[in-house]
Amino acid sequence: MKKLIYFSILSVTFLCVVLIFLAPILLHFKSKYGFLIYFIFSPLCHQIPERSFHIFGFQLAVCSRCTGIYLGLFIGSIFYPFFSSLKRQKLPPLKFFIFLAFPMGIDVFGNILNLWISPNIIRFFTGFIFGVILPFYLISGIMDLGEMKLNFNRNFIKAKNENKTSNF
């Protein structure tokens, strides 16, 4: 069950990364489906061309920071089993989260307050660093949720069996 959850999340993050890079490639080959990918990612990203990387003259499906976040999510998901057990979920310490989210937070506020304008590569790397920590929360949370559901099912079946035996 836990392996299934882990590989599902890994697949979803991989699919996201593939779609982000696939959108401009599809547009290059004049396929309409490229726009569908832009549509899917539109609630998640501003998709401003100046703030995005380009392939074949077309922008990626998300901005450079979001590209970093999604790539970080995928890479973090790959490395999850090496740093955290699949059997026993443990959330990373708060200081790690603050430490890894700090560069992106500073960069975002600096840009919002017009203190500086970051180049796309900085946006990408700060997003990537933040994205790497996210699977350690997401995978742990969803695995724990799966475990809770399993326990609920076990208790339900147990209670049902006890009811049956008491009826006899």
């Binding site: 004049k30 609630p43 708060l94 949370g141 969803i142 724990d144």
Partner: protein, 175 residues
């Protein structure tokens, strides 16, 4: 001692309302462009409310489930709030279309028409958008819920006082 976990419905509903309002109103909704900021924030808030009501430490799964439900409720509310602002969104799409050739080079002839059609209201497009939003918001809401659990979910457990052994009756009590 009451070790029961609190009801998740109220925190999920309040978290969902926050997500829905912030993600549905024009201009403010742009915060979601930053990695679903409002959705994650709503999930964190739902987990915070849950932890306030809980008497014991919350598990990651508790945060995930409350955040997930907050995300689902938020997706439905934001989609409904978005409906009256469709005309405004259409203008944004029109501006996007004007700028596309500057960055995108040549497009197939019917692309503009296809995009314009997407900006107009149609039930299948609305349902597709709703389904996509529900999936994405549930995922990011769960993420926010788990982060919220790690931030607020731990309770300081007071060491349990050992049970007082029954004292033997003293001589004075015997009297």
């Amino acid at each position: 001692m009451n070790n029961q976990k609190p009801d998740m419905f109220r925190p999920a509903l309040i978290g969902g309302l926050i997500i829905g309002l912030l993600s549905g109103l024009p201009v403010i909704q742009l915060g979601n462009c930053f990695c679903c900021l409002w959705v994650i924030a709503g999930g964190v808030f739902a987990a915070y409310l849950l932890s306030k009501e809980a008497k014991i430490s919350l598990k990651a799964g508790d945060g995930a489930i409350v955040g997930m439900f907050a995300g689902i409720i938020g997706a439905i509310i934001s989609s409904l709030i978005n409906l009256p602002f469709r005309a405004l969104n259409q203008q944004i799409v029109a501006r996007f279309l004007e700028r596309l050739p500057e960055y995108g080079g040549e497009f197939p002839q019917d692309m503009n028409l296809w995009l314009k059609r997407g900006a107009e209201f149609s039930l299948p497009m609305f349902m597709l958008g709703l389904v996509i939003s529900v999936i994405i918001y549930a995922l990011f809401g769960a993420l926010g819920g788990v982060i919220g659990t790690s931030l607020f979910g731990k309770k300081k457990t007071t060491p349990e006082t050992p049970p007082i052994p029954p004292s033997e009756p003293t001589k004075e009590q015997d009297k």
